[in-house]
Symmetry: C2
Subunit: 122 residues, 2 copies
DNA sequence: TTGCATCTACGAAACTATTCGTATATCATT
DNA sequence: AATGATATACGAATAGTTTCGTAGATGCAA
């Protein structure tokens, strides 16, 4: 499943804050960008149809929960992105990403650790 | 400028093969997936309007040239992707990418070299 | 229980990306 | 110069995303 950009923004709220109402998600989203309430509602209804989220309809306000994990979704998106933008070369993407984005000492350590796990002799 | 997926596929052909006619690009593209000739033509006309490519109209068959570099385009796309899919965390993306994609010994070496340049003490 | 605030459902507009058909232009060959 | 192959231009259908207005349901508070 490939969420659209708007859907991804909503998923991020759900991943971060846990199960939420449309109101809560909308409040969060509108801190960054403008969006009508019914727009958020409609999107979440569509996501429900697609199976990206589940919802509890017990109360007046339905409660939505992400039904895909952040990691799985990122993996799917990354696969596609490596393919389309970097012609399948993940290492090129890595070099580009490391070159142009700041990373903390801890993150760099973590990356080095992973590299040593992959190939301790390199 | 953010090329669409179809536009990106065309740019890749131009980056790889250099200035080309619609016919040449179309021949290349149809090795991977199906696409009508006039579809490729239309896309390249649109890309011309957008300024993604330039073209020489001297001959009967126009010759198209990429007017954006591969690296610049990848940088732009990567920035956007890190933002939307990884909420700005490039290091998470790197870890994910290294974890799920094969990289050759040479590529791993190159990545390690870059890491040492970024922070020799880490 | 009446009314107000808030909710959901849903149709449809606006926009973008992709696709191709058809009309017309160009050029090489006879 | 006429023919046929191949080119461009361009309108328009299709599909997907994002947007919001409006109608109607729900529940709390006076």
């Amino acid at each position: 499943m490939k969420p659209t950009d708007a859907e991804l923004a909503i998923l991020h709220v759900l991943w971060q804050n846990g199960p939420s109402t449309v109101r809560q998600v909308h409040d969060q989203l509108t801190q960054d960008r403008e969006m009508g309430y019914t727009t958020a509602l409609k999107l979440m209804q569509i996501m429900h149809e697609k199976g990206l989220v589940t919802r509890t309809e017990a109360a007046k306000s339905h409660i939505y929960t992400a039904d895909v994990t952040e990691t799985d979704t990122q993996r799917t998106l990354l696969d596609r992105f490596v393919e389309t933008a970097f012609r399948g070369s993940a290492s090129k993407l890595v070099l580009q990403a490391l070159g142009q984005h700041k990373a903390s000492r801890e993150e760099l350590d973590e990356i080095k650790k992973l590299l040593n796990q992959i190939d301790p002799d390199a």
